[in-house]
Symmetry: C2
Subunit: 102 residues, 2 copies
DNA sequence: TGAACATATGAATATCTGTTCATATTTGCA
DNA sequence: TGCAAATATGAACAGATATTCATATGTTCA
């Protein structure tokens, strides 16, 4: 039987993780990347075009988002296709946007 | 009749605002402040104690959060009592924490 | 009025973060 | 095999950001 954490207890580490989670959404380039991926998976070249950032900047940011497991990817020939990791990411973005749009 | 924005159209500026919103949640001290305020209003001294940050650091961060209208305050004698601006803030925090706690 | 308390502010500093530039890696194809 | 396309990586730089320290402001009360 797998050990389960008690979700009702908020540790200091949880608060650090929470800040880190939001940090991932706190940069314009990353937001543009995530927002573009809300409509479906895209290769790097498409993301470069959608964000207006350089290929290098996009690649660096994709790495960060991937490390946070907010996005995942698969290879398809020469291309790498990125997509949102799960619905949670979608929901958080949507909720933030609702707030911005009041 | 007041002009209404079309909420279905996402502008580049919206994406900037969205990043800024999440930026407010992206620092450990600010998260601790907001999280403490989820359980109810608190004066600065209490917030200093809960966060473990210095009085000055807390005051600086409170100012930022207030400017974003994520928190508000009222004076009560010598003290200043801070509280979350609205339920939206509460919801965003809760949703983020749900994700962290998987 | 003056002392003590609570909070806010400004400047300086150190750290963190994102971008750029140059280059490396991987893959498909002639 | 060699070249071109797609993406990733590393180092360096610039700008942003959080904290600290010193001090200012505002409030209560004796």
């Amino acid at each position: 039987m797998p050990k389960k954490k008690d979700k009702s207890i908020i540790t200091e580490e949880d608060l650090y993780d929470l800040a880190d989670l939001f940090k991932a959404f706190s940069d314009t380039t990353r937001i543009k990347l995530l927002y573009a991926l809300m409509e479906g998976e895209l290769c790097v070249a498409d993301l470069v075009e959608k964000t207006g950032a350089t290929q290098s900047a996009v690649s660096h940011q994709l790495r960060g988002l991937k490390q946070m497991d907010l996005i995942r990817c698969r290879k398809e020939g020469k291309q790498v296709i990125y997509f949102l990791a799960d619905d949670h990411v979608h929901t958080i973005l949507q909720m933030g946007m609702d707030h911005v749009k009041e």
